[in-house]
């Protein structure tokens, strides 16, 4: 909650050696309001997903698991092998275009509400506030000399941050190693060295970024923050201070006829600066440091309410709207413009293609690789043999028996397994030898076909081309 206006403090000037430059430490003041509520909703939503999804079981396995050892990704009922990389690529393109679209329409919505940097900073700040108190108390505590109380508060804060960071690291690794096994390993002290390493590595970065670097990550490290400006145009909704209404700023009492004295609505309480997580003054106009979190809107609205002036001195608005003093109707009318239409059209086309691709994804995948060690050899009975490695992948949710046949040359014959059985989402690699008489086919490379067919379901069939070398 906002504290009364009377205790408005002077600008804080604790200069600390940041990792990137000498900077003033930002003590964001806590804020409540519509947009803060939205941000907390997003924190809950994203973090319930992140911390919870890895514990969800699905058909006897972890629902979302990127099994690096087996080189297989499970996402609920879908199993992906490295050969399915195209889906991942399309998913990344969809994410990128969504980001472009959201940014063109509503500015840095991603940064303000959903980016992990924002989300974890918000959680770490909450812990800080619970332990060390509000903004004023934290500034005072930092200024004080070390005392038993300060030490206790510091230890408590850093431990709480540390535990959360470790849990985050553990969860992260749990997406790559089955998390239930990982959990058992923790308590039986049998974690592998690399698992321990990655838990600590990820945990340490979470701690450093959310606990200490905070706004510096957005200002100096984030590539998106540097290029998001190109997606803005004069009709993009951004957090805007209405200077025509606010200026000239200056303090005045409630009910005072300040307009007669030539003053604007801004009472210069500086609360919009105090709540800003990046420590900027929004009244100076749109700046690249602004992550679009709307904390200043919430803060200013509360002040305006107390002053009895209309809300929205700082609000979501567009450059055109501020210049021409448009209302919401005009702003919404300008959302539909060529840039937005093009982004939307591209996005929906790719999404449709992606859904179609997933829906028609084959339940069976076969890779045939000629054995590199053996080109062709003569075996008993004068037959010519080529060796192949087959990789059969069952991408369905049921166990299947598959029949394997080979064709393409006269009197072609296959030695090795003709029927294999695979569990749901299972795969196997095995060798087969293919033999033909020496006069079958032409000299050099001949095309042959391997056919793998699910025995219970005649429609699941894959025909793979391979080369047979006749010496």
């Amino acid at each position: 909650m906002l504290t009364p206006l009377a205790v408005t403090s002077k600008p804080v000037t604790f200069v600390e050696q940041g990792l990137y430059e000498v900077h003033e430490k930002v003590y964001p003041r806590s804020v409540t309001g519509v947009y803060a509520t939205w941000r907390w909703l997003m924190v809950w939503l994203t973090q319930t997903l992140f911390y919870g999804l890895c514990w969800l079981p699905w058909n006897g396995r972890q629902a979302v698991l990127f099994d690096l050892t087996a080189r297989k990704f499970y996402i609920f009922g879908l199993a992906f092998w490295p050969q399915d990389i195209i889906y991942l690529a399309v998913l990344l393109i969809i994410s990128a275009y969504s980001l472009f679209l959201f940014t063109a329409v509503g500015g840095r919505l991603w940064c303000g509400y959903a980016c992990p940097q924002t989300v974890y900073t918000e959680i770490f700040l909450w812990i800080e506030r619970k332990i060390e108190g509000n903004r004023a108390a934290r500034i005072k505590l930092d200024a004080n000399a070390m005392s038993p109380r300060k030490l206790l508060l510091r230890v408590a804060k850093y431990s709480a941050w540390g535990l959360l960071a470790l849990w985050t690291g553990f969860t992260f690794v749990g997406y790559f190693t089955p998390i239930k096994m990982l959990w058992v390993s923790v308590w039986s002290f049998s974690l592998g060295p690399w698992e321990i390493f990655w838990i600590i590595f990820y945990g340490a970065f979470t701690y450093l970024f959310a606990g200490h670097l905070r706004e510096q990550v957005c200002k100096y490290m984030c590539p998106y923050a540097r290029f998001q400006g190109v997606m803005f145009d004069p009709d993009t909704l951004t957090i805007t201070y209405d200077a025509t209404r606010g200026e000239p700023r200056g303090s005045h009492k409630k009910g005072e006829a300040y307009k007669a004295q030539g003053k604007g609505d801004c009472v210069d309480c500086s609360i919009c600066v105090q709540v800003c997580p990046t420590g900027i003054d929004i009244r100076k106009g749109l700046q690249y440091e602004c992550i679009g979190c709307a904390a200043c809107i919430d803060a200013c609205d509360q002040v305006m309410e107390k002053m009895g002036t209309p809300k929205g001195l700082i609000r979501y608005s567009t450059e055109h709207a501020i210049a021409a003093q448009w209302g919401w109707k005009e702003i919404i009318r300008h959302i539909v413009r060529p840039r937005v239409l093009v982004y939307t059209a591209i996005l929906w086309t790719i999404i449709a293609a992606f859904i179609w691709g997933i829906a028609t994804k084959s339940a069976l995948r076969v890779d045939v690789i000629r054995d590199r060690a053996v080109l062709a050899r003569e075996v008993e009975g004068g037959l010519i043999e080529n060796v192949y490695r087959l990789h059969v992948m069952n991408a369905s949710e049921a166990a299947h028996r598959y029949a394997i046949t080979v064709s393409g040359l006269p009197e072609i014959n296959m030695i090795g397994e003709r029927i294999i059985e695979l569990p749901p989402a299972g795969d196997r690699t095995f060798m087969v030898q293919v033999r033909v008489p020496p006069d079958s086919g032409k000299r050099g490379s001949n095309v042959i076909y391997f056919e793998v067919k699910a025995m219970a379901d005649e429609t699941t069939v894959i025909r793979e081309k391979a080369a047979f070398i006749q010496p």
């Binding site: 990792l19 990137y20 430059e21 592998g192 690399w194």
Partner: protein, 81 residues
């Protein structure tokens, strides 16, 4: 400090991308090290791979940083020593 970070941070990002692409296309079990098949666990291969990428990318960033110095800057540095 700023120089160290501007070397380490972008190379970390690029190494992450390179790691993803490389190991999507190449199975760590099929790699050879000094003529011998790699015998580490998959997790170890991925991790070592990542740090190698990071080191290579950092070396490149470092060279860029080094060459970016203006004539004035390195003349100044010489005078100091």
């Amino acid at each position: 400090m700023q120089n160290i970070l501007s070397v380490l941070w972008p190379s970390f990002l690029v190494a992450g991308i390179a790691e993803g692409i490389f190991f999507t296309l190449i199975d760590p079990r099929e790699l050879y090290l000094f003529g011998e098949p790699v015998h580490f666990s998959s997790l170890a291969t991925y991790s070592i791979g990542f740090f190698c990428f990071w080191a290579i990318c950092a070396a490149s960033s470092m060279a860029t940083c080094y060459l970016l110095r203006t004539a004035q800057e390195f003349k100044g540095a010489d005078q100091e020593t």
